[in-house]
């Protein structure tokens, strides 16, 4: 009988020791999301979200939330968020915000605001583009000189491209690499660029340059001229290098007043540049304002936000807008509506939005809201946070 008693006791002690654990952590209340939201940028592949409001900045890394309250970081009040460029470096988990001469770096344990006072080559001051290298360094592109050959008999000159690495010292913002890569003034535009995964820097102008290595003493690059019907190609905006080898970009920089009309597409060879016109391939609802924001890319598929304007004056509309998915490989287009909700009746109040997984984060004049694409329900981010952020 003793062996049975021992067995029973072992079983009881063994089974009752199976204790699960939940850790409820206090967290800073994201009350700054209850103010006018100026900017929402999601980085889908990395589950990272950047939100700028009139009361500060919130970063999301998955379920982890980092807050920079403007009460403590009053420098944030000086940044003009609406036209700022927001980049994210997944290798360092740092968000970069570039707004005119302000360079803000924010992350889990990082807050650094640097003002650029470099006296750049005057004609090119506004021609800069920014991109992050695979190791998370910020680079800037611009022209450092204009060269005209008096013996050429031409009115055209060559603008020479410089590559600038951000160093952010008080007296020295950039480390300059002058290249002998030029853009003829007849194609003069704002060159944009991206880094390929292998570190190649691809300059998106005509000709396209693939810079395989560069330092201050040597620059190694291939040049790819764009000919044929695409000869008019000069640049494209918000470029994206797809895994299929296509370089995509927008025909114009989209804003809430001037929507995107086409996507520029070229391979890194001498094939013609193609233009995918949105209105030829996508049946836009008659009430829509067009594609006003590029949300993300997945291989050859781009997603845009198509805005529908509604306000208390126009009356309630059933839709706030649409998520448009455009497959550039097949020119197939689909629309998914974002339905209005008692808590968000009019699109007029929407300042910015972006998608992260199955949620659309909508920045309104009053607060940050979350649109669940599975249920079409809209809730306040702050209230959602109370439900979701506490359990670790």
């Amino acid at each position: 009988m003793n062996k049975w008693i021992t067995l029973i006791l072992v079983l009881l002690i063994g089974t009752t020791s199976c204790v699960d654990e939940i850790d409820l952590r206090p967290f800073e209340l994201p009350s700054l999301t209850k103010s006018t939201v100026r900017r929402v940028e999601a980085f889908e592949l990395d589950s990272a979200l950047f939100v700028a409001t009139d009361e500060g900045v919130m970063l999301l890394y998955g379920d982890e939330q980092i807050l920079f309250d403007a009460g403590s970081y009053d420098e944030l009040l000086e940044i003009e968020w609406t036209n700022a460029e927001v980049l994210y470096a997944p290798t360092t988990d740092i968000f970069w915000v570039i707004a005119d001469s302000a360079f803000l770096r924010v992350g889990r344990n990082t807050f650094d605001l640097h003002y650029d006072r470099t006296n750049f080559y005057a004609p090119t001051k506004s021609y800069f583009d920014y991109a992050l290298s695979p190791d998370g360094k910020l680079y800037r592109l611009g022209y450092y000189d204009e060269v005209w050959d008096p013996n050429s008999g031409s009115f055209f000159s060559d603008y020479m491209i410089g590559i600038y690495e951000f160093v952010g010292n008080p007296n020295n913002t950039w480390k300059e690499t002058q290249t002998d890569l030029g853009v003829n003034s007849k194609f003069l535009a704002d060159p944009t660029f991206v880094f390929a995964e292998n570190g190649d820097l691809i300059i998106n102008t005509n000709p396209v340059y693939v810079v395989t290595s560069f330092n201050q003493s040597e620059v190694v690059a291939d040049s790819i001229s764009k000919t044929g019907s695409g000869f008019k190609f000069r640049t494209s905006y918000q470029p994206y290098l797809s895994e299929t080898g296509h370089m995509y970009g927008l025909f114009s920089e989209p804003t809430f007043l001037t929507p995107v009309v086409a996507v520029v597409d070229h391979a890194l060879n001498e094939e013609e540049v193609r233009l995918h016109a949105l209105d030829e391939n996508c049946e836009m609802p008659s009430s829509s304002q067009g594609a006003v924001k590029l949300l993300d890319w997945q291989s050859d598929q781009a997603r845009f936000f198509v805005q529908v304007f509604s306000s208390p004056q126009t009356g309630e509309s059933e839709e706030l807008g649409y998520i448009m998915t455009f497959d550039l490989a097949s020119d197939q287009c689909s629309l998914r509506s974002l339905r209005s909700h008692p808590d968000l009746k009019w699109s007029e109040g929407i300042n910015d939005l972006d998608i992260l997984e199955d949620k659309v984060y909508i920045g309104t004049r009053e607060e940050l809201m979350v649109y669940d694409l599975n249920t079409d329900d809209v809730t306040s981010y702050l209230f959602n946070a109370i439900e979701n952020l506490s359990v670790q």
């Binding site: 089974t15 800073e28 009350s31």
Partner: protein, 260 residues
């Protein structure tokens, strides 16, 4: 659940070696009356349970949110149980494997509480309350009275009570399974608590284990939750980590066999 798996895994070890000598008897539907045993049990003041964490009760102090676990709690004043026990397998007259179905009605106080014993209100928050940093509301009074339970336990029985033929003075039962609790059966009518508001907090199942000691026709049982959850949280007033054990079950009861 893991306990149940362990017990099931032990069956071949305990009984399998004896199969060849025809000492193993399976339940026969034609003679079910010889394989069923009925018990009536009571417990007085020795019965309490907590559900799993349902949600959080959040208080805000100086811009920091402090979530506490919210769970249902029953404190049994007195409970009555009827339990049919069906012997599925018997080994000689020494041991048996049975399926036990304890059905309990309990006079108990049922509440939905937070870790710091605030009475959680399921009333929806208004926009104004959220804007005022109020994310959880309290109600007054307990939620209701009485609760019911239904369990399904697989038991190994040895000695007294294991089979009809066993004549040992003492027997043992060790069980594992699930117990479903539902309550309150009657809402606190002195308060304006609506049953529909609290539906999601009124029923839960918990894995349980049970040890029983049989003496003649009487059985002393102790049933315990097998897979509790330890919730660690802080409150704005203490700042020290607090611990709340949830998904717990405790009951000490005494039963008497009806009939043979």
């Amino acid at each position: 659940m893991r306990g149940l798996i362990v017990i099931l895994a032990l069956i071949p070890t305990l009984l399998g070696a004896q199969e060849a000598d025809k000492s193993l008897y399976l339940l026969s539907p034609r003679h079910i009356e010889t394989s069923i045993r009925h018990e009536i049990g009571v417990s007085i003041g020795t019965h309490w349970s907590k559900s799993q964490m349902w949600t959080t009760f959040t208080t805000v102090e100086d811009g920091v949110a402090y979530p506490e676990p919210v769970f249902s709690r029953v404190i049994g004043v007195g409970a009555l149980t009827y339990e049919p026990r069906l012997r599925l397998l018997e080994y000689k007259s020494v041991a048996s494997l049975s399926l036990d179905i304890p059905l309990t009605a309990s006079f108990s106080v049922v509440d939905v509480l937070s870790g710091s014993r605030r009475k959680y209100s399921a009333e929806p928050l208004t926009e104004q309350e959220i804007n005022s940093n109020i994310f959880s509301k309290e109600r007054s009074g307990f939620l209701g009275l009485f609760h019911g339970e239904a369990g399904a336990l697989l038991s190994l029985n040895f000695g007294q009570g294991a089979t009809l033929e066993n004549t040992k003075a003492i027997g043992w039962t060790v069980s594992a399974g699930y117990n479903y609790l539902r309550g309150p059966l009657f809402m606190n009518f002195f308060q304006d608590n609506k049953r529909s508001d609290y539906g999601q907090f009124m029923g839960w199942a918990t894995p349980v284990g049970r040890l029983g000691m049989h003496i003649d026709r009487f059985v002393l049982y102790y049933m315990i939750g097998l897979n509790p959850t330890r919730v660690i949280y802080q409150t704005g007033s203490t700042f020290e980590p607090q611990i709340e054990m949830t998904r717990t079950y405790n009951r000490l009861s005494i039963s008497v066999r009806l009939g043979r």
